[in-house]
């Protein structure tokens, strides 16, 4: 039985000798796009692989469509379309041959959709996979992932290596997918401008831990950049900001409560809306906290 979210992750842990994914929790409701953001090595890909059951978790629970990917791996994966950050298929086979191998494994495979997407992505199906550029490899992986009526599309850095025109078209395609209100998308990226266009929820992960997982509009409403003189910092309690950069003449900082900052600091500082890029930069960057 499906619970409230198409994907529910609770207290997920995975231990490596030099890295630990700790207590990762988030929920993706049906029919929405969630962006999973964070710096390289933060744990994004590990989280996605755990969701697919490609890695074994040490603790926590995952429910995709109400099912555990470890216990019901075949069913869960048949309802997921996945794109790797570095797509690898059989280099010596043509795209048609590669697709034919995959198609038989999905009961809901739609060859017309695959051909339509291949045409839209300007893929030559007679070409061998090994002859494709990185961008075209990603396009092929996307065409496969979107051709079996997946209810959950999981994309690991799909837009890196793609030209801006195709990136825009891809984002439009993903938005179109949501029109049926049954498909959800989990989209890992470090190109936050893509997420500002299409995401409904943002989950920020850093050093294997969730920093926040919230609705994008709420983040853009509450988080703000504060700019002011160094003397104004003296009156503030430690750790007042989520991130801070001190300059020679002033400071620039990130707050997660714009209303409270405006009430407290008034017109003595400049407060402006933060972009997702600002949020990532300040929460994961090298700026010292106050």
């Amino acid at each position: 039985m499906e619970t409230s979210g198409i994907l529910e992750v609770r207290g997920l842990c995975k231990q490596y000798p030099d890295f630990q994914l700790a207590d990762v929790s988030f929920t993706l409701p049906r029919g929405y796009i969630m962006g999973l953001i964070g710096p390289n090595g933060a744990g994004k890909t590990t989280t996605l692989k755990l969701i697919l059951g490609a890695l074994r978790r040490d603790a926590g629970s995952i429910r995709a469509f109400g099912l555990d990917p470890v216990e019901a791996g075949v069913e869960v994966r048949s309802r997921i379309g996945f794109v790797h950050d570095e797509p690898r298929f059989y280099r010596s086979l043509t795209l048609t041959q590669n697709a034919a191998l995959v198609a038989r494994l999905y009961p809901s495979w739609n060859d017309d959709t695959f051909r339509r997407l291949s045409t839209a992505f300007e893929l030559s199906l007679d070409k061998r996979f090994g002859q494709l550029s990185h961008g075209n490899k990603t396009k092929f992986a996307l065409a496969l992932a979107l051709s079996h009526r997946a209810e959950l599309v999981v994309l690991d850095e799909p837009t890196s290596g793609l030209d801006p025109v195709f990136r825009r078209d891809l984002l439009d395609t993903l938005t179109e997918l949501l029109q049926d209100e049954r498909t959800s998308i989990l989209f890992s990226t470090h190109i936050t401008s893509d997420l500002e266009r299409i995401a409904d929820y943002i989950t920020l992960i850093q050093n294997g831990r969730i920093v926040f997982s919230e609705a994008k509009d709420r983040i853009l409403e509450n988080w703000a950049l504060v700019k002011g003189g160094l003397d104004q910092l003296e009156s503030l309690p430690p750790h007042y900001f989520r991130g801070l950069h001190r300059g020679a003449h002033g400071f620039e900082a990130l707050t997660d409560d714009a209303r409270e900052a405006r009430r407290r600091l008034g017109d003595s500082v400049v407060i402006e809306g933060a972009t997702l890029d600002d949020v990532v930069l300040y929460t994961t960057g090298s700026g010292s906290n106050v």
Binding site: K49, R77, S78, I80, F82, H84, R88, F89, Y90, L105
Partner: protein
């Protein structure tokens, strides 16, 4: 039943498509080999044992392609279980061995002056010998190949070579006669088999051997699944 056949056919077909070039190359090489063997040796028993060893290595080697193309992580995100992927390897190996055996018997019989008779080669005892030799190699190699890829297969073979080398050295140091020791061991095994055959009857012995070979393959398959499930990508 249909579903089970289809589930095995999908990975088998995948592997056959994937290795079609290798298979064509092997077929051409093998035809040339048949001509050479028949004109040079023309000994049915040597032919049988040599071919079984040859087929087993041939079928295991191309199955490491997913390691070379680094496609295993992707395969593990498809709607198949790890057991399905492993079973595909076993089914492919056995299907290739059987196909190669049938084709090579026909080829060898067709060579002018050949002493290799298809009727003799397809007799129950010879088929059980084929199954025994192939089981010994495949059941030993596949778990290591599935867990460690081509390196695993090589390491297994190297380990066997090292073991042989160590035995030779030990025999030399202790003044033992390794050749006689091996002959004695083979003799004991042979006598044991004949005794068992005598007590069970020919048909009973053949059935028992078939069951043992099946169990050996099953145990190897289960070990491979266990090892493959422990791999993380």
């Amino acid at each position: 039943m249909t579903e089970a056949i289809l589930r095995n056919w999908i990975p088998l077909r995948r592997d056959l498509i994937l290795h079609r070039r290798t298979l064509v190359l092997v077929a051409v090489m093998y035809t040339a080999f048949q001509a050479w063997f028949v004109t040079s040796f023309n000994n049915p028993m040597v032919w049988l044992v040599f071919n079984c060893i040859y087929f087993s290595f041939l079928t295991v080697t191309p199955l490491t392609a997913d390691e070379k193309t680094q496609t295993l992580p992707w395969l593990c995100t498809l709607p198949v279980t790890r057991a399905d992927l492993v079973r595909g390897r076993y089914v492919t190996s056995w299907a290739l061995v059987l196909a190669l055996y049938a084709v090579s018997v026909a080829l060898a019989a067709l060579m002018p002056g050949s002493d290799i008779s298809p009727v003799w080669m397809l007799g129950p005892d010879r088929l059980l010998l084929v199954a025994g030799v192939v089981t010994f190699i495949i059941a030993l190699l596949l778990p290591f190949t599935i867990r460690f890829g081509f390196t695993g297969m090589l390491l297994t073979l190297v380990a066997a070579q090292v073991l042989g080398g160590v035995m030779l050295v030990v025999a030399k140091i202790t003044g033992g006669d390794l050749g006689s020791g091996i002959s004695a061991a083979v003799g004991i095994l042979r006598e044991g088999i004949f005794a068992l055959r005598g007590s069970l009857g020919v048909l009973g012995f053949q059935l028992a051997l078939l069951v043992v070979l099946f169990l050996a393959n099953w145990a190897s398959y289960r070990a491979s699944v266990w090892l493959f499930r422990r791999r993380e990508f």
